[in-house]
Symmetry: C2
Subunit: 378 residues, 2 copies
Amino acid sequence: MNIIISGAYQTKCGELWDKSLDDLIIESIDGSLVDASLEKKDIQAVFLGNKMASQVSDQNHLSALITQILGHCVPVVRVEAACASGGVAVSQACLALESGQYDNALVIGAEKMTDLPIDEISYALMHAASECERDAGLSFVGLYALMAQHYLQTFGATEQDLAFPAIKNHEHAKLNPNAQFPFSISAEQVMQSAMVADPLRLLHCSPITDGAAALILENKQKKSNQVQIAASVQTGETLSLSERKDITVLESTKKAAQLAYTQVGVSPEDIDLWEVHDCFSIAEILAVEDLGIFPKGEGFIGIRNQECAINSKNPVNISGGLKACGHPVGATGVKQVVEVYNQLKGRAGARQLDNPKVGLTHNVGGTGGTVVIHVLKK
Amino acid sequence: MNIIISGAYQTKCGELWDKSLDDLIIESIDGSLVDASLEKKDIQAVFLGNKMASQVSDQNHLSALITQILGHCVPVVRVEAACASGGVAVSQACLALESGQYDNALVIGAEKMTDLPIDEISYALMHAASECERDAGLSFVGLYALMAQHYLQTFGATEQDLAFPAIKNHEHAKLNPNAQFPFSISAEQVMQSAMVADPLRLLHCSPITDGAAALILENKQKKSNQVQIAASVQTGETLSLSERKDITVLESTKKAAQLAYTQVGVSPEDIDLWEVHDCFSIAEILAVEDLGIFPKGEGFIGIRNQECAINSKNPVNISGGLKACGHPVGATGVKQVVEVYNQLKGRAGARQLDNPKVGLTHNVGGTGGTVVIHVLKK
């Protein structure tokens, strides 16, 4: 795959009370167009990741809204795959460009979550789980808590070990001006925060976030200073946890990673930075194992030992991740690609790594029912 | 474009009280696999069109549900584009196959609409209109009524002229065992049916429908007895009617048709049958003009003069169309392709045309904000 990224933009993440979903979409479109030195009329196709507009804004037909914003008869494809909606949007744009139907595509991930009361947004988020899980009274944190319980019992990790992904990602977020929570948290604070679903506490959980991100992709030959999407892989997994053989593994992540590594001809050792889907602390631990950074059952040790911090060998979630940069659900998969792109372009500001060449993004829907992996290279 | 259709299936359309959304999806998957002589494990990717599951079934993450049904880590992409969701799913499948990422794809359009009270489903359908249209108190039939009023005034058509698409499509539906309303209606019945939004009456309107359809597409060289998708074009248009220069034209239909005709090298005279988006009578009249079957302002005359009936030169909506076969919104765009495929394969039963070679499907989201056209050839 040889798709070039020619522009990228991310809004601030947070409780953006003064911004509507439309505002966030418009800001991300304008920002990415400026970055790519293109105008609205130049865009040939648009791919949008959004999960919740029909519940939060009573708005389903976002595709036509974006056509209206762009001001010409451009086709807009809205995809929805729970919290992987953004990643699927990037992936569908890549495939459409590879088909030759379009020369360029604008990808938008956008989510406005804070316009609903918290109990309503929690209920709406559970639309991404299976009917039997909902009928059983499970919440999303409850589902991930089941995975965490089984992980702790199987691999001998402690509740304290669950704190380290969150602590690390908050440290990273201090370097990101767009982050929702740019401040430190301590292990004590995590352990003393409210229990949400045993063993997951409040500070193990990613927040409710408003935000958007956009990319402009082109199907053309890569120049030396450009960044390409070298692999775009989507996989699936059962909707219900109860249908899986082992809930300490996401087979969808493992399969997507294997396919992506093969397509690009790399192994985990070749990846310079990772943006992984840390919706809950346990999710980052599973991700670093399923992606092959650490063997199964040892991810929590690696993260605890600072082996995924910004200045380590395997920097994971330098943006702050979903936990501390924020998790505007349908935007997250696009935001991850924007972050890695900015790093590969050398414009990541205070959190810039020293000349990274390859980065990977990992976006998960539900409890792994959809997974999308992108590998970016410069 | 050279995508082969190797299997197709459509469920019955109607108020299917004994079937859930899952049941409809499973029936359409099983039916298309049998038709293509494939097994679940053979499917490499799935594209799903669905508009309303998050409102009707509290289910967003349908993609993972389908992965679970298929029983392996297959990627599933759910697209949503109001009533064009099905058409967009077919189109995205075509582009993904053309990209070379997959050799085959299963396309599903599925909608369960009758599980909500009628006022709630009407409100949910209006999520596909713009915020300002909703705030103004407009319903979908109200929006199309504005288009109809303007059409009648501009081109001298009468209210009686609006009846003929519905009368014709009900006659066609009598030949379709899957149709929701397989019975005749008279001009008098239409004119005496309840006024919904002046000038559109109840019998000008397509119904609330449960139903599903599925296709299996393959990226391979066409054999002589096979049917190919020769063009798949999506376009967009403003979300709000008020943003358009002329509401008696769908620019999105005109542009999509022009692109499709150019890609295939055909003109409207070469098309042997048409499945067009007749969500309201006025919509079919606009469609037959914007697609180039009749000059602007003369579509109503052509339909009135029986020039779009099953045994005429330009058979339109032989299935019964949205009006009489039914309009399971997210399934409609897939169902249209299934219908044309069955005609080109010579297996359309009582409504089979004499050796048709080229057919076109026209699927509309909202009031034209999204349009998808497919051209099928044998």
